[in-house]
């Protein structure tokens, strides 16, 4: 079998521990049930925390045969060195920020780590997750914290899928545009 006329892209969800990366991945799978080709597969610790990665493959047939490989990285600090490997080769990166105010320092640390390891020019969007919580920082505040344009930050509630489609399509669009005219 062959993928000669196909295109495959790799999207990676990155963010601090418990920011909702795995929940976001599950939400993506629920959002596009007819496209799920594999997964979600979760490589997790006995406490249910991501140990290496989670994985989901989506298959979309249009005039191109597209497979989207979606990975999440670990958020826990102790697995710091593994994240870099999972994120390498990404066509697009989604930073899943935890919008709880007590988590903002961790967001910033994780964001800086991501910027240190991601190749220059890789499309990157931010999901300001957990917007349903009463003390959540707004998408604008998250943008200011991370020093990015407000248009790159999407408010999301991964738990019920709210906003997930917008940010996922935005990331996919930015990632696919890298292949235009190649």
């Amino acid at each position: 079998m062959s993928l000669q006329r196909g295109l495959q892209v790799k999207l990676v969800f990155w963010g601090p521990g418990c920011s909702g990366k795995t929940t976001m991945l599950r939400a993506v799978a629920k959002l596009y049930p007819g496209m799920v080709a594999a997964g979600p597969v979760e490589v997790a610790t006995s406490e249910g925390r991501t140990m290496w990665e989670d994985y989901l493959a989506l298959h979309a047939r249009t005039s191109i045969d597209l497979v989207v490989h979606v990975y999440t990285t670990t958020g826990q600090r102790r697995f710091l060195h593994t994240r870099e490997y999972v994120a390498s080769g990404a066509d697009g990166l989604l930073f899943v920020a935890d919008s709880r105010r007590e988590a903002l320092d961790e967001d910033l640390r994780s964001w800086e780590e991501l910027n240190a390891v991601s190749p220059r020019g890789t499309p990157m969007l931010v999901a300001a997750n957990k917007q349903d919580l009463p003390d959540a920082a707004s998408a604008g505040e998250i943008a200011e914290l991370l020093g990015v344009e407000a248009g790159l930050v999407y408010p999301t509630i991964a738990r019920d899928g709210w906003g997930v489609g917008s940010v996922f399509r935005g990331l996919l669009l930015a990632s696919l545009r890298r292949y235009v005219g190649r």
Partner: protein, 274 residues
């Protein structure tokens, strides 16, 4: 197929005259490399790849001072790079004068048609690897070969597998390689392969080559009694070809239009509304 390519390479070499070529390649009309001997890189072929070679007659010749391209069948061309300036015409004239000796290239045309029907040269190579293993070994079965990059993007596969399982296995292979890379850094020693043993299966991931800093890997799923050393040996005989094909086909297949991108995004938006 492998034997045919080797033989054709030999015929080309023998008919070039006394001057030794820096490199020889057999390429099809989409400039996919089928066989390479010596030093032939993408840059060497780049200037020729823009020409309308499909419209050329068999026997047509294009050249510059250091290299030439000779159309030897409906679908195939021989590219030759000479080591010294100004010798390409001498070698080209010598080879063109013996074009009848190259008639077996038509067999490659048929092979290419078959390969296109079945999904490309990379797949053919994987199939050949599997068939070669079967000829050599009396023990155990080889169930699946998957060629993918370190990100789990599948380039080709051979064997019987449900597509969903294919993606998951490629992701598993990719994860194993990433873990291998962690160990590489920690142990200061290069990664070669990773293995997981199951009750009835063995799963092996081999490093084939590196391309643009990305590892290209082969994942093999075999029965418990299979000799994975033999699989590796049959694979190692084809590594150069795999590397060349991955370089050409892997790069050639990417590239979309703005309209196609929009179409994909519309499809995802529509799926959300279902």
């Amino acid at each position: 197929m492998q034997e045919l390519l080797e033989r054709l390479m030999g015929v080309v070499e023998a008919n070039l005259g006394r001057r030794k070529a820096r490199g020889i390649a057999i390429v099809d009309d989409r400039f996919r490399l089928w066989a390479v001997r010596g030093g032939v890189g993408r840059d060497d072929l780049a200037k020729y790849s823009k020409l309308p070679v499909k419209e050329l007659e068999v026997g047509s010749l294009i050249h510059d001072s250091q290299s030439f391209l000779l159309k030897v069948s409906d679908r195939f061309m021989v590219f030759v790079a000479m080591g010294e300036n100004e010798l390409s015409m001498v070698a080209a004239a010598s080879l063109k004068g013996r074009i009848n000796a190259l008639s077996d290239f038509y067999k490659l045309d048929r092979a290419l048609e078959e390969a296109e029907k079945e999904g490309g040269r990379l797949n053919s190579l994987l199939r050949e690897t599997a068939e070669s293993y079967r000829r050599l070994s009396q023990r155990g079965d080889l169930h699946l070969l998957v060629l993918c990059d370190g990100d789990g993007k599948v380039l080709a596969w051979w064997g019987s597998v449900h597509p969903n399982k294919l993606w998951e296995l490629a992701a598993l292979g990719s994860a194993l390689v990433q873990m291998g890379k962690v160990g590489e850094d920690r142990l200061s020693s290069p990664f070669h392969n990773a293995t997981i043993m199951y009750g009835n299966y063995q799963l092996h991931v081999f490093k084939v080559c590196e391309l643009d800093g990305k590892m290209i890997i082969l994942l093999a799923v075999a029965g418990e009694k299979a000799s994975i050393g033999l699989v590796r040996m049959t694979l190692s005989q084809r590594v150069d070809q795999l590397r060349a094909l991955v370089e050409v086909e892997g790069r050639a297949r990417i590239g979309v239009s703005e309209r196609e991108v929009e179409e994909v995004i519309e499809k995802f938006a529509a799926e959300e509304k279902r």
